[in-house]
C-alpha cells in the first residue's frame, strides 16, 4: 500500500540546537507507526512540523503522494492531519461540544452556530466510539484528563482526519483510560486512518504499533516492523548502550514509623485512612487516577485540610497549614502536574532547580550565594542527564521529559525526611527513568522515607517495598513482599477489598 504521508530529509534548528537532522519518516493508511527516542531526541519537533505548528528549515513533506507545504495547524487539519498534543490544547471554560467544533462550527442559514446539529453530530461520533456522551455540555475543566483527551480525538474525527498524531497520550491516562484509547485506536485503524504514536512506554508499542521508528539526537537511527525487533534492541538503539533495569527492593526500613496516619477523612476525597511510613522504605500508592492518593499526599503537605483524623509525625501530632510549614519540617512533595504545579516556565533552568533549597544556599540574611546555586544546577543537569543548552535556558524551551527532570531535580535537592513523589517519571524516557529509579532507591537507602504515587504498575512493582492501593477514596489493599503482584494491585484498584496483610494495624481497623 502507498504511504499517505512521507517526510524526506527534514531539518530543524532552534538557535544553536540542531533538533532534527535529515529525518525520513513515512506512514501508511491503517497503520500505527510508533516514534520512540530519549527525551529531547526530536520526536515532538518532528510531529510539530508534520502538524504545521512549526515549519522545517529544509526537507520535503509528501501527503497523498503530492508535495505539500503545511505551514499552519489550520492547513494541516484542513487536509486531514490532526494532532493530540503532549500538553492537551483545551478551552477550559467552554463546553466539550464547543471544544470539538470551535473553528469549524456547523452553521444555520443565518450564520448562527447550530447547536442542535452540532450536538447530534457529536453524539453520533461518541457513540461510534462506544462512549456514552453524557458529558458533552459540561465545561471542559470539569472532565478528567482522560475524557478531555477523548474529546480531542472526537475533534480530530470531526475534521475527518486521515492522519492522527498522538504525542505521549498515555502519560496522563489511567490504565483503564489507556485500554479505552487502545480500543479507539483499533477502530481508527479499521477506518484506514494512519496513526503516529509517540510513547516512552515500550510495552505499549508492542501492543498496538505495526512499525517503530527510533530517534536519537535528532536523527533516525532505525526503522523496524514491530515483529522484527525486541525491547532491549529498541532501548539500545535509543540510548546507544544497554540498560540495566533491575532494582532490588530495599526493605531495610527503620524500626519505628516516622509518620502514622490515623482515621484521616476528608469528605468527597478520602475516608478513614490509616497507614504508617517507615524511614528508609519506599511506600507505593497505587490505584486509579482520582482514587484519592494525590489528596492524601497534599494533605500531608499542608495543602488540604482533613475533616478529621490524626497525623503523627516524629512522635508529635501535626497539622501543617501550608507547604512552607511542611517543608520546614522535612516533608517534600513532587506534584503530579508539572505544567501547572511544578514549573516556572519563563524562568531559567537553574532558578527552577534551586527554588526549593534557597534557604540552604543563602546566608542568614537571605542573600543567595550565586556560585552555590550554579553548582547545584550543574550537579543535577549531570546526574539526571537534563538536556538543556545552558543553565540559563528558559524551561519552556526544554522538551517535555527534560522539563519533568527539572521538576525532579527541584525536589531531590531538598533532602527531606519524607519525600512524596507524585507520578515522578511521567514523560521521562526509559533510560533516564531507570536512572531516576536508582536515585530514588538510593535516597531510601540513606534513610529517607519515600512515598511514591504512580499510575504505572511496572514502576510500583519495581520500586515499592510496600504498596497501598486505593479505590474511590478508600484503602482497598496493603501488600508486602511477594504479595506485590500486578494481579493483586489491579484487583484492589478496581475496588475489591483485599486487606489481608499480616501484622498491619490497618487490617484490624478496616475489617
Amino acid at each position: 500500500m502507498d504511504a499517505i504521508l512521507e517526510c524526506r530529509g527534514i531539518e530543524k534548528s532552534f538557535g544553536g540546537v540542531h533538533a532534527l537532522k535529515k529525518v525520513n519518516f513515512s506512514l501508511h493508511p491503517g497503520e500505527v507507526h510508533a516514534l520512540v527516542g530519549e527525551n529531547g531526541a526530536g520526536k515532538s519537533t518532528l510531529i510539530k512540523i508534520i502538524s504545521g505548528a512549526l515549519s522545517q528549515d529544509r526537507g520535503e513533506i509528501f501527503y497523498l503522494e503530492k508535495p505539500v507545504i503545511i505551514g499552519s495547524p489550520r492547513k494541516a487539519q484542513d487536509i486531514g492531519i490532526s494532532t493530540v498534543y503532549q500538553e492537551p490544547l483545551i478551552y477550559r471554560e467552554l463546553s466539550v461540544l464547543e471544544n470539538i467544533f470551535l473553528g469549524r462550527e456547523i452553521k444555520t442559514r443565518m450564520g448562527n452556530i447550530d447547536w442542535t446539529e452540532e450536538e447530534k453530530k457529536a453524539r453520533s461520533l461518541f457513540e461510534s466510539l462506544q462512549i456514552a456522551p453524557h458529558f458533552i455540555k459540561q465545561p471542559m475543566r470539569d472532565l478528567s484528563v482522560g475524557l478531555q483527551q477523548l474529546a480531542l480525538i472526537a475533534k480530530a474525527l470531526v475534521y475527518e482526519a486521515k492522519v492522527i498524531i498522538f504525542d505521549e497520550p498515555t502519560a496522563i491516562l489511567t490504565e483503564h483510560e489507556t485500554e479505552r484509547l487502545f480500543e479507539i485506536i483499533q477502530k481508527l485503524k479499521e477506518r484506514k486512518v494512519g496513526i503516529i504514536y509517540i510513547s516512552h512506554r515500550l510495552e505499549e508499542i508492542f501492543r498496538i504499533a505495526d512499525r517503530v521508528t527510533i530517534m536519537r539526537d535528532g536523527e533516525v537511527v532505525g526503522e523496524h516492523l514491530v515483529g522484527d525487533i525486541n525491547r532491549s534492541k529498541i532501548v539500545e538503539l535509543m540510548a546507544g548502550r544497554l540498560l540495566v533495569e533491575e532494582i532490588n527492593h530495599l526493605g531495610k526500613k527503620g524500626e519505628k514509623p516516622i509518620l502514622t496516619v490515623k482515621n484521616l477523612t476528608r469528605k468527597g476525597r478520602y475516608y478513614d485512612i490509616h497507614f504508617d511510613v517507615y524511614p528508609g522504605e519506599i511506600l507505593g500508592f497505587s490505584g486509579l487516577v482520582g482514587s484519592g492518593r494525590t489528596d492524601i499526599a497534599q494533605t500531608l503537605f499542608g495543602l488540604i485540610k482533613p475533616d478529621n483524623g490524626e497525623i503523627v509525625y516524629q512522635g508529635k501530632t501535626i497539622s501543617f497549614s501550608s507547604p512552607e510549614e511542611a517543608m520546614a519540617n522535612g516533608i517534600a512533595y513532587l506534584p503530579e502536574d508539572r505544567k501547572v504545579q511544578g514549573l516556572f516556565h519563563i524562568l531559567s533552568t537553574s532558578f527552577n532547580i534551586s527554588v526549593t533549597v534557597l534557604k540552604e544556599i543563602s546566608s542568614r540574611m537571605g542573600i543567595v550565594h550565586n556560585s552555590q546555586e550554579k553548582e547545584l544546577g550543574k550537579k543535577f543537569v549531570k546526574e539526571l542527564a537534563i538536556k538543556a543548552p545552558s543553565l540559563d535556558s528558559k524551561v519552556y524551551s526544554l522538551s517535555g521529559g527534560n522539563q519533568q527532570k527539572v521538576v525532579l531535580a527541584k525536589w531531590l535537592g531538598v533532602n527531606p525526611q519524607i519525600l512524596m513523589l507524585d507520578e515522578p517519571t511521567r514523560g521521562v524516557d526509559v533510560t533516564s527513568k531507570s536512572e531516576i529509579h536508582h536515585m530514588i532507591a538510593s535516597l531510601a537507602e540513606k534513610g529517607i522515607a519515600v512515598i511514591i504515587i504512580s499510575s504505572e504498575l511496572p514502576e510500583i512493582l519495581k520500586l515499592a517495598d510496600r504498596v497501598i492501593v486505593m479505590h474511590e477514596g478508600h484503602i482497598t489493599g496493603v501488600f508486602e513482599d511477594q504479595d506485590i503482584t500486578s494481579e493483586n494491585l489491579v484487583r484492589a484498584a478496581t475496588g475489591e477489598r483485599m486487606l489481608k496483610t499480616k501484622g498491619s494495624s490497618i487490617e484490624e481497623k478496616n475489617l
Binding site: L303, S322, P323, M327, V340, Q341, G342, F351, K410
Partner: protein, 327 residues
C-alpha cells in the same frame, strides 16, 4: 552566529539603552541648552517622584496575579497631605512628620496587599477602590476648619524641610543622590541576590508552582504592596519638599504614567518578567524626553503624548525587528 543586533532586539534593557543614547544624541545636537552640566544634572530631579512610583508599579506587576496598583498617585497625595498638615498646621517636628508619613504610606500599601492576598480580591478592584478612598481621605485631611469646608494646600514649611527636595551636591539634586539611587540599588540587590527576590519572580511567573514549592505567596503579595505604599510615600515626601507645597490633587493621574514607565522598562504585565535596570532606563528616557521637549519649547501636554508615542513606537519597533530577524 549571534551578532550585536540580535542581542539588542532580544534584550529589552539593551534596546532601551540604545534608545536612550539615540535620544540623547538627538537632543544634544538639536536642542539648545540641553547639553550643559547644569541641565543634565538639574533635570534628574524631575524623574525622582515618577520614578519611585514606577518602581513601585514594577514590584507589584512583577508579582503577577494580574498585579497592578492604581492607588500609587493617591497614596503619594495623602502622604504629602499628612506631612504637610502635621508640619504646617500642627507644628510637628519635620522628621517626626516625615516618619509618620512614611509609616502611613506603608500601612495603606499593606491594606491593599492584605485585601489582594487574603480575601483574594482582584488587584485592579482593590486598588481602584483605594484610589478613591485615599484620594478622598487626602481631601478630607486637607480641609482647614479655620478657612471653611474646602480642601486647602499647605505651604508654610520650615526652611529645613526643603533640604531633601531643593539642595544639591556637585550640581546633583539631593533627592537623586540620597533617595532615588539608594532605592534603586536596594531594589536591585533585593531582586537579584536575595531569597525574597527569587520568591517574587517565582510567584509572578507561576503562583501555583510557587505554592507547591513552599513559597509563602500571600506574604510576598503583602510585602510587595506594602513596598509600593512605602515608595509612593517617599515620592510624596520628595515632591512636597521640592515644590514647597502639599496639595490635595498633586498625584492625580500619576498612576497610569507610572504603569506606562514600568511597562516601557520591560516589565511584563503577566508577571514574573522585568528588571529594575530596565525601569531605571525607562525613567531616564522619559525624564530626558520631557526635559528636551521643554527646552525646545513644546507644550507640556505633548510630554504626555510623546510618552505614549515612545511606549508604543519602541515596543512595536522591537517586535518588528525581532520578527524580521527570525525569518
Amino acid at each position: 552566529m549571534k551578532n550585536i543586533g540580535s542581542h539588542i532586539v532580544e534584550n529589552r534593557v539593551l534596546f532601551l539603552l540604545v534608545l536612550f543614547l539615540i535620544l540623547f544624541g538627538v537632543f544634544a545636537f538639536s536642542v539648545k541648552g540641553f547639553f550643559t552640566y547644569y541641565n543634565l544634572t538639574n533635570m534628574t530631579q524631575y524623574g525622582v517622584e515618577l520614578g519611585l512610583l514606577a518602581l513601585a508599579e514594577m514590584l507589584v506587576i512583577l508579582s503577577g496575579g494580574a498585579g497592578i496598583d492604581l492607588s500609587v498617585g493617591s497614596m503619594l497625595t495623602i502622604v504629602a497631605m499628612i506631612i504637610g498638615v502635621l508640619i504646617g498646621r500642627a507644628g510637628f517636628n519635620p522628621s517626626l512628620a516625615i516618619l509618620i508619613g512614611l509609616i502611613s504610606g506603608s500601612a495603606m500599601g499593606y491594606a491593599n496587599g492584605f485585601l489582594v492576598a487574603y480575601p483574594k480580591i482582584p488587584p485592579f478592584i482593590v486598588t481602584l477602590a483605594s484610589l478613591y478612598v485615599y484620594k478622598s481621605l487626602a481631601m478630607i485631611i486637607s480641609v482647614d476648619p479655620r478657612f471653611g469646608p474646602n480642601p486647602m494646600p499647605v505651604s508654610n514649611f520650615p526652611e529645613t524641610f526643603y533640604f531633601i527636595g531643593q539642595h544639591r551636591i556637585g550640581g546633583l539634586p539631593f533627592q537623586v543622590l540620597f533617595i532615588f539611587i539608594p532605592v534603586v540599588l536596594i531594589l536591585m540587590f533585593l531582586m537579584n541576590r536575595t531569597v525574597l527576590g527569587r520568591h517574587l519572580y517565582g510567584v509572578g511567573s507561576n503562583e501555583t508552582a510557587a505554592i507547591f514549592s513552599g513559597i509563602n505567596v500571600k506574604k510576598i503579595r503583602v510585602i510587595v504592596y506594602t513596598l509600593s505604599g512605602l515608595l509612593s510615600a517617599l515620592a510624596g515626601w520628595v515632591i512636597t519638599s521640592r515644590i514647597a507645597s502639599a496639595r490635595p490633587d498633586i498625584g492625580t493621574g500619576y498612576e497610569l504614567q507610572a504603569i506606562t514607565i514600568a511597562v516601557l522598562g520591560g516589565v511584563s504585565i503577566k508577571g514574573g518578567e522585568g528588571t529594575a535596570g530596565g525601569v531605571v532606563l525607562s525613567i531616564a528616557i522619559i525624564t530626558m524626553l520631557y526635559n528636551g521637549m521643554q527646552l525646545a519649547g513644546i507644550h507640556q501636554i505633548w510630554q504626555l503624548g510623546s510618552l505614549g508615542l515612545v511606549l508604543v513606537g519602541s515596543v512595536l519597533l522591537n517586535q518588528i525587528l525581532y520578527n524580521r530577524r527570525k525569518f
